[in-house]
Amino acid sequence: MKPTAFDYARPETLEEAVQALGSHPDAKVLAGGQSLVPLMSMRLAAPALIVDINHLPGLDHVTADASGVRIGALARHADVLASADVRRVQPLVSLALANVAHPTIRNRGTTVGSIVHADAAAEMPMVLQLLGGSVDVVGSGGRRTIAADELYVAPLESSLAHDEVAVEAFFPALPAGSGVAFEEISRRHGDYAMCGVAAVVAVEDGRVTSARAGYLSVSDVPTVVDLTDALAGSVDDAALARAAEAALAQLEPESDIHATAAYRAHLAKVLTARVLTAAHDHAREE
């Protein structure tokens, strides 16, 4: 199907973009279009005004320093994935991005767009939340930083105001002594996952001081659980089984056409043990 008719604005400055968004209650930002255009073609979305931000200057940066990784709103997934600096400073960003769709979709889709689209089946919202990152937005009220914790308010809903443009995402660097891992299961390579889990484990003097896991596609919003207690002793099969149970107690797996709730629960358990093991190994190498 084809999208319904809409008005089109192609601002050349951020101020113009914010103004255009404010000019209509039913305006939407168009970034990579890899989520929005299919929704419009299927007529699940029919915005009255499209504000195309693809031609704004100075938003396609990908930078990494000791504090973390900064990704501009027009950096495509492929640009972020190609950055060796990103991989070094926060490897979980790269590990997760390799699972976002196919290379062709990644050439156009933006990482910031994915983060504010707030799909619980998407990799980057969950990773932002697990790492305690944030998004900078600019609106008629000026610029503000939204912590990941406050970004995801409901399924497919972020806390951006109607006239706000997300300009940059920030992922904190991986501290020394910490390790990360990511795994997901999907029906076909490149599809949205039926379940995906990422972990961050911190080790000090051979003991786990912190272990957290993030879940995508399990509940209807990206979910993070703290599993430090389960791994506080040693990291062995019994501890991993305890951690997986503890995680599941805080999740509410849902059924859909891709997988039943029971199958999702099973995947969540198995993947939890796998990523905790891998993140723990990674932490000890660091």
Binding site: Y8, V37, H55, A101, T104, N107, R108, H189
Partner: protein
């Protein structure tokens, strides 16, 4: 479409295969449709129209992109290459096209334009793909005919040809129904075109 009687028409200059096409389109015109309808370049095929099948893949500033997920108005100012623009300046097949022909990497040819654009860019970015990388390169493109084995062979062969370290290939035996389809310009392709336009409309 009756919902909007005064739909604004945008004058857009599309740079396609080195030629400027001045087209007048509503903002909602997908790049895939503008290429086929306004530019008359029907080599770009439309299958799913939501980003999954890859048939509509074109190069935008050298990178493979789904033309069904881009509005023509957004594409103004970018260099677009469709399957019609892949052949060498002298008209001979480019390495990806040659390889698909040699390896029998197509049957009906519907998916082929998307594969050829993807592989043309893919072997530029990675001139020596491993078998796994060759598979990954085309993992986002669907083919309902071939079963992919010959397509993956064609990716590896295309890289060989492009590197210039390929042993001269024997001529493909018998009649080569693949040749014209690989250039995106045949009876076969046109028949498919008619049916997809019908589906999409």
């Amino acid at each position: 479409m009756a919902e909007n009687t005064a739909e604004k028409i945008h004058d857009v200059r599309l740079e396609v295969n080195g030629v400027t096409h001045a087209v007048a389109v509503p903002a909602r015109r997908l790049l895939s449709d503008a290429l086929r309808q306004e530019c008359g370049l029907t080599g770009t095929h439309v299958g799913c129209e939501h980003g999954v099948c890859g048939a509509c893949t074109v190069l935008v500033d050298g990178r493979p992109v789904r033309s069904c997920l881009m509005f023509a108005v957004t594409a103004a100012g970018s260099e677009i290459t469709t399957v019609e623009g892949l052949a060498e300046p002298d008209g001979s097949l480019n390495p990806a096209q040659q390889a698909f022909r040699e390896c029998h990497g197509l049957q009906c040819g519907f998916c082929t334009p998307g594969f050829l654009t993807t592989v043309t860019a893919g072997i530029k970015e990675n001139p020596c793909p491993t078998h796994e990388e060759a598979r990954e390169m085309v993992a986002g493109n669907l083919c309902r005919c071939t079963g992919y084995q010959n397509i993956v062979k064609a990716v590896e062969r295309a890289a060989e040809i492009a590197r210039g370290d390929a042993p001269a290939a024997g001529p493909p035996d018998g009649d080569d129904g693949g040749l014209e389809a690989a250039t995106g310009d045949t009876e076969v392709a046109r028949k498919d075109d008619a049916s997809t336009t019908g589906l999409g409309a």
